[in-house]
Symmetry: C2
Subunit: 126 residues, 2 copies
């Protein structure tokens, strides 16, 4: 198994959380303190602190003391950019699903008998 693959899986694992994505989304707009962040996203302070600790360990965010507060910011915009690329892809797919269901369902001309039984449920809100 490739080293990079394992590393990538670990980073992806850290990113695979709505809360953390929300936090990253906020951090993309600039550095912010823990408490403020917790208030903004409507989560408890310990919860946010834990998520930040996880992401800091993974090298995704950095922390810096500012008086009594601790400000967090993105370590490297590149990872987040890659994340945003994926996000845009999903938005496109999501939008396409929307227009498909709103259309008259133009009955796929040739349907060469796929083995895939079910529509990807994850794309319609699982």
């Amino acid at each position: 198994m490739d080293e990079i693959t394992i590393l990538q899986a670990e980073v992806l694992k850290v990113l695979a959380s709505p809360r953390r994505l929300e936090i990253l989304h906020r951090l993309a707009e600039g550095s912010v303190e823990v408490g403020r962040l917790a208030t903004e996203i409507g989560a408890s302070q310990p919860n946010v602190s834990q998520h930040l600790a996880v992401m800091r360990t993974a090298g995704i965010v950095e922390s810096e003391r500012d008086g009594r507060e601790v400000r967090y910011r993105l370590t490297d915009p590149d990872v987040i950019r890659a994340c945003d690329v994926m996000r845009r892809v999903l938005e496109r797919r999501f939008a396409r699903l929307g227009e498909l269901s709103s259309a008259t369902t133009p009955a796929p001309s040739v349907s060469p008998r796929r083995a895939t039984p079910s529509r990807p449920v994850a794309l319609v809100r699982s």
Copy 2:
């Protein structure tokens, strides 16, 4: 919480596995049957089948019967491309870490007292 964010987290969760990344890496080179895939990556057949089922549910791969066998292929190269963007970023960071540790450690000129205590362990094989 944004809909897309939740969706993205789910997709990321599916991707956050070394095995699945390995499978996707293989599928990027073309469609392949389950058994062959299991042999190539050195995993059990049920295990591979389960991973494929998860990824199919997430809409990342598609399956197609071919005689007795079932061939899997990527649904949309775009998601994998986004994944590869991240991979390349990580490779770059990894390589940089390597040259840093092999260099004479040029003693950071100004070290403005960060609150971040530890190096990102995830980048040095956690």
